[in-house]
Symmetry: C2
């Protein structure tokens, strides 16, 4: 009889904790929204210092997390993502410095015009309010997510993977030290103080109106859960089924460089190419060198009949392969009838993330850039440029594939909203 | 045994109809997204002509709707919103002409920069895709909503109130005539072809990914249902609990003009003031004239003790009154301790819609404009300017009170998204 009772008590207590934490984050967001640039930057500098100063404590907490995960049977890849060392902690501190140097977007006048009745209307950037970040066991997201939201004037509620609970706590302590040193409220960066997964559901329900937007950072399953359950807006970070279309008018050398980079530079990033499409008009000249290059680079190719015909190492492609996000040294490859067919293929199988055309034909390039409905479309450049840093945004919290509010890299500017400020001298509406 | 079977069959049939209609709208949105300005404008001109040409048919359909609603006991106000006449039909056609004259937002380069590696990045406006508009029995929304989405390059699925089913159908027929005359797909503006309320639930579920965003247009209950049930993003049009704060340094004449206009010009619009706050520092000079003016204009006042003290016609205010959207000749009124307290009151009871300060004190005005967290904040101007037309947007589909994507008046520009277009000459990522 005790167990269910305790569960009910436990979940009532958790709900109360989360409700309070939401209210405090909301109150902190009012302070953050009005904080001057210099004060936010002081906090970011103090955070970087505190991360460095408490390195030993962070490493000790992380060692416990890693030991526990290892004994629970976590994979080597998982443990590698979870583990910190002196270098990774330094990278975290350096990232805080980078974010400190970004332009403060809050208060920027985005547009300004005068009405015939003499009123001046301005559209001004303001923070979003409270951002909920739900992520997996990558400790650095605690620092990056907290700092990016702070720079944009938002309070943030962070909920990391339960395997990184101690690491996140130690990093969070350093962030709070920085906030307090700058005279900002500690609740501006809140870490959910429990591993209880029910807390995630409460965040997805919005904590009684305390959360304005949820940013999921992690794999497909996490993002899918967030998108299905969230009662508040979500910056959708769906998978990147990215294409490189090599047009008949492409130079072979450029096509080889771009395809190899797009697929193989790093296979685990969302901007990595997952499908190669080659124009039939150029296939005789282009297909074999591209296929051999990839195979020789130890990339598995799943190809259609035309691709299979050029090298016996090519495996046959299945219908589901065309929409796979491998995040591995595997690529789907096929021959299409020109740019029109490439665009249709991408519309059918793609994920509206990032797609590239390689060609010297300006008309084909413009058609591709115009008609492919993806967050990022490129001509003669690698899909691996799908990254806030490469855009010049300085830092990003992810790549959004939705079409509302944020699309593409989500940097500080995408973490803001706006309002209209109107100055009159007694105008009334006729 | 037959009844439930029939229901299941009926709802399976409806689901199939809605699924198909969503797929067709999605396909039409691909055509619309690439349609040149001239073609969209030809459609809008042909629609206006068709509305005028089929006036008799629209009026006949509307007369049937009105007769049915009247015999079902609809209120006079409801019937007035539902009823069309020659003048209202002409206004609908004129609105289509206004929308035709708006600038086409699609393709506009919003920002452009070059990266150190030579790549040029452009941020370009693109349509959202498919917009679902769910509205009440106001026939003109069929025309306005359809035309605004078309101008922004979106396909639209319209679902009006069931009492206006025939009117909406007749107006929709004219819109389709215009689309077809311009060579655009009829599915670009789809009207849900049934009164079955289950269709609304299917739209809120997104029609299998066919709907990108839902725009509810109507009263509190409709918007609340949409926000609770929607599985796709919603442009939240919450109630307008709008405030006028009359500061101690306000001129009496200006304060009277603005308060009277903000409350009484039209009481049923979302930008109508619902609360008057007067600074205690100016109350002796300002409060009585403002109170008497409103009472003499037949506006009921629910006031705190200070307000009740100046005129015995003032009724006592209750705690819930402070957050009421009356949409009627009623106002809540109270005395506050300066701009700081006014801002705190608005944060507590307001709806983040539209709020105004009247003052000659520049510092108080700037503080109010900066700190009040509403879509629209005004200094020395009436809250009734909360309207896309008054902003110069030409037409609007509503006022958004959410902070994501659209905030304030939702015009053609707010009905678009953007993408990044990158031009390189062989760049790969190091």
């Amino acid at each position: 009889m005790n167990a269910p009772l305790k569960t009910i008590e436990g979940s009532a207590k958790l709900a109360a904790t989360m409700h309070l934490l939401g209210r405090e984050a909301r109150a902190a967001s009012r302070v953050l929204a009005l904080a001057p640039t210099a004060q936010k930057n002081r906090a970011l500098a103090a955070m970087a210092k505190a991360i460095r100063d408490t390195r030993a404590a962070i490493l000790a907490a992380n060692a416990q997390d890693v030991a526990e995960a290892a004994s629970a049977g976590a994979t080597a890849a998982f443990l590698d993502r979870l583990a910190l060392n002196a270098e990774r902690i330094e990278a975290m501190a350096a990232s805080l410095t980078l974010i400190r140097k970004l332009k403060n977007p809050v208060g920027t006048v985005m547009a300004s015009w005068r009405r015939p009745n003499g009123m001046r209307i301005e559209r001004v950037r303001v923070p979003l309010g409270v951002v909920g970040v739900i992520y997996e066991s990558r400790p650095n997201v605690t620092a990056d997510g907290g700092a990016l939201c702070l720079k944009a004037g938002n309070a943030v509620i962070l909920r990391g993977g339960s395997e990184s609970f101690r690491s996140a706590g130690a990093i969070h302590a350093a962030l709070v030290e920085g906030l307090v040193a700058a005279g900002l409220p500690a609740a501006a960066i809140t870490l959910v103080p429990t591993r209880d997964r029910a807390a995630v559901g409460m965040m997805l329900a919005g904590l009684h109106g305390a959360i304005d937007v949820i940013v999921p950072r992690g794999g497909k399953n996490l993002v899918a859960r967030v998108q299905t359950e969230a009662r508040v807006p979500v910056f959708a970070h769906l998978e990147g089924v990215c294409h490189v279309y090599v047009d008949g008018k492409a130079k072979l050398g450029m096509a080889k460089a771009i395809v190899l980079n797009a697929k193989m530079r790093r296979t685990g990033v969302c901007g990595a190419a997952e499908t190669l499409l080659v124009d039939r008009a150029g296939a005789a000249r282009l297909l074999k060198p591209l296929v051999v290059m990839l195979l020789d680079a130890d990339c598995e190719i799943r190809g259609d009949a035309a691709v299979q015909a050029v090298d016996r190492r090519v495996k046959p492609v299945s219908e589901t392969d065309w929409s796979m996000e491998y995040l591995d040294a595997i690529i789907t490859a096929g021959v299409v009838e020109g740019v029109e067919a490439a665009i249709a293929h991408i519309e059918r199988y793609g994920s509206h993330h990032t797609d590239a055309i390689v060609t010297d034909d300006k008309a084909a390039a413009e058609k591709f850039l115009r008609e492919v409905d993806s967050a990022i479309v490129l001509h003669n450049a690698s899909t691996q440029f799908a990254d806030g840093g490469e855009f010049g945004f300085g830092a990003e919290i992810g790549i959004a594939t939705g079409k509302l509010h944020a699309r593409g890299p989500v940097g500080v500017e995408q973490l803001t909203s706006f309002k209209y400020r109107i100055r009159g001298n007694g105008q009334t509406r006729p």
